[in-house]
């Protein structure tokens, strides 16, 4: 009866510190009851409520692919005033936490088939895009999609997350990888430049293409004009929003933007939808 708010038990199998500042960690979670994993059917772009007993719950995007059926990945940034994120970061491997979800809508994977995919990500908001890339590049799926271009940027090389995977993807010839940083460092040999600028340089074709964009609000704001210039129509630009959430199921009211609830009607919106929402500020 109280299933709605009842988190399922998972164990932290592994944690990976993703950045130099050591405040972004990826948690590999395994359900105590494997049946629960099977019931936990999700798609790329969705999120779940992670809960630490005594600290509370926090909405976190799912970073693993739906095809990673052994585990779930969540990449969490710890904030000084974030009760749950701080609690999560202090947990050791083997600790038990709760997962409730999956919630929200997802990227239109079906509509993306037979199309060129342009993925633009910034900073730590790359998580659900990572889920998507893993999904698209999976042996079972790759052939269903045309060209895949990934543009990912962070402020500094130390802030790039999923570094080993980025390298793997760069080595593949069926994906065009562009990794950039706002500010380079001495041993950084890669690109330096803001995501919107690199996007204009790379200039992926908009023909038969869909763009997925996810990043901090300021990046979203400046990425939209170049995408439009490249010929992407607003309904072909897909993005994901973030707001403070509490219930995850469209009831508690705090992620309300216009008549939509980000947690339920989102977090994935097309740029067209977004422009019609008050308060979205993109």
């Amino acid at each position: 009866m109280n299933d709605l708010y009842h988190p399922r038990s998972v164990v932290i199998k592994k944690t990976v510190i993703e950045n130099e500042a050591r405040d972004i960690k990826t948690f590999e979670l395994v359900f105590l009851d494997q049946e629960e994993r099977e019931k936990f059917e999700f798609s790329c772009g969705q999120f779940a409520m992670l809960s630490v007993a005594g600290a509370g719950e926090s909405p976190i995007g799912i970073a693993s692919s739906p095809l990673d059926d052994e585990y779930l990945h969540f990449t969490v940034k710890r904030y000084p005033t974030g009760v749950v994120t701080t609690a999560l970061h202090s947990l050791e491997e083997g600790s038990e936490i709760g997962v409730r979800g999956p919630y929200g809508n997802f990227y239109p994977l079906k509509a993306m088939e037979d199309k060129n995919i342009v993925i633009v990500g910034g900073g730590f908001a790359f998580t659900t895009l990572r889920s998507t890339i893993r999904y698209l590049l999976h042996d079972k799926n790759r052939s269903r999609f045309k060209d895949i271009t990934v543009l990912y940027g962070a402020r500094t090389p130390g802030e790039l997350i999923y570094k080993s995977e980025l390298k793997q993807w760069e080595e593949r010839d069926d994906v065009n990888m562009y990794v950039t940083v706002d500010r380079g460092e001495e041993d950084w040999k890669g690109r330096v430049g803001l995501v919107p600028n690199i996007l204009s340089e790379v200039a992926p074709s908009s023909e038969n293409s869909i763009a997925l964009v996810c990043g901090p609000p300021i990046m979203l704001k400046y990425t939209m004009p170049p995408l439009l210039d490249l010929g992407f129509s607003p309904e072909r630009i897909i993005t994901s929003l973030e707001r403070r959430m509490s219930c995850g199921i469209g009831k508690c009211g705090r992620c309300n933007i216009g008549s939509k609830y980000i947690c339920k009607d989102g977090p994935v919106f097309t740029y067209k939808e977004l422009r019609e929402l008050p308060e979205a500020a993109v």
């Binding site: 009866m1 109280n2 709605l4 708010y5 009842h6 038990s9 809960s51 007993a53 005594g54 600290a55 509370g56 719950e57 926090s58 940034k77 904030y79 005033t81 974030g82 749950v84 994120t85 973030e242 707001r243 403070r244 509490s246 219930c247 199921i249 469209g250 009831k251 508690c252 009211g253 705090r254 309300n256 216009g258 008549s259 008050p278 308060e279 500020a281």
Partner: protein
């Protein structure tokens, strides 16, 4: 329900009410308006003597009997999970003398908490286990505007039974559901309705409706609001706002909440508390970023949610015109004025 079925109408004398409630009290826990510390609120009663019949409306809305301001949803360690939602109501309940506007607010909350895609177990159990005995409003206040938002002082919708004070020591009682009929039949001393009672009822109703002096045009308001999200109007209307939670916590339709954990010696409790969009903390994210930075944005959200977003989502205005926010606002922010300003914008 068969409309106009006169067998479902009875007359009860004021002095009989005590007896009737005593009979009902055997099977039901009765909650009724009681005056304590100068405030009228709904409390469980033992005798009809405790009831404060002459109330204009209760200070707090009876919404908290369905959706409490603070409620434990779960508790850990996990062996206790699942035991938590025991039967919430020990005994079926009657809310006696609920006002029609507050009954309507429950119908609005149903849209949120008892919809096709989501049934809140805590809310639904209470909703199913609590009967609503309405008391028609013979003294609407100056700040009432129920008739402008689809209600009325004698509105019968969403009630199981409705009573109306005919002013001559008699109450007109009408059963509106089978359960309501059951309540009525509990007492065979209820009298049959005479023609003059019916006339009296019509007259009282008319008088009451006349007393609702505030007339607001809410039709088309949602369309107007669509266009004025960035209007300077919001700079004006929020100016006085103190940013407190009175309007939201006394509102009969506000339903935002927060889930949070609390630890005590033995366990962790996951608690659901009411929250208010008027508080800065409502939207502040872990990063410290707050998308609604000032009272201006927060008040706009409150108005938009009631008169635009809710309408778009559920087809109705999330306001029943009870006027509580107007009465209790410490700086006299008056939603009627705001609506008027929006219309004139």
């Amino acid at each position: 329900m068969r409309k106009g079925d006169r067998l479902k109408e009875k007359i009860i004398k004021k002095e009989q009410i005590g007896k009737w409630l005593e009979k009902l009290g055997k099977d039901y826990e009765i909650w009724a308006p009681v005056k304590k510390n100068g405030l009228v609120s709904f409390y469980p009663i033992q005798s009809a003597k405790e009831i404060y019949f002459d109330f204009l409306n209760s200070k707090k809305t009876p919404k908290d009997l369905f959706f409490p301001q603070s409620e434990v949803l779960l508790s850990f360690p996990k062996e206790e999970v699942g035991k938590e939602v025991k039967t919430i109501l020990q005994k079926p309940r009657i809310i006696f003398a609920i006002r029609p506007c507050d009954a309507k607010s429950l119908a609005l909350l149903d849209q949120v908490f008892d919809s096709e895609d989501y049934q809140d177990p805590y809310y639904v159990e209470r909703r199913e286990g609590i009967l609503l005995v309405g008391l028609a409003c013979t003294h609407p206040q100056q700040s009432c505007f129920c008739t402008s938002v689809g209600g009325g002082p004698f509105e019968k919708a969403h009630l199981d039974l409705v009573m109306a004070d005919l002013g001559d020591g008699k109450y007109f009682v009408e059963a509106l559901t089978q359960l309501g009929e059951g309540l009525m039949q509990r007492d065979d001393s209820l009298q049959d309705v005479q023609e003059k009672d019916r006339e009296k009822l019509a007259k009282t109703k008319e008088e009451a409706e006349e007393k609702v002096k505030s007339k607001l045009v809410t039709k088309g308001l949602e369309k107007k609001l669509d266009k004025i999200f960035d209007s300077p109007l919001w700079d004006r209307v929020h100016q006085r706002c103190l940013g407190c939670g009175i309007c939201t916590y006394l509102c009969s339709t506000c339903h935002c909440f927060a889930l949070l954990d609390e630890k005590d010696k033995a366990r962790v409790k996951r608690i659901r508390n009411w929250d208010s969009c008027m508080f800065p903390e409502f939207t502040v994210e872990a990063s410290g970023h707050n998308p609604r930075i000032s009272n201006r944005e927060r008040m706009r959200q409150r108005v938009m949610h009631k008169f635009n977003y809710f309408v778009e989502r559920y087809g109705e205005t999330a306001c029943v015109g009870c006027g509580r926010c107007i009465q209790s606002c410490p700086v006299n922010i008056d939603i009627r004025e705001i609506i008027e300003e929006i219309r004139n914008e």
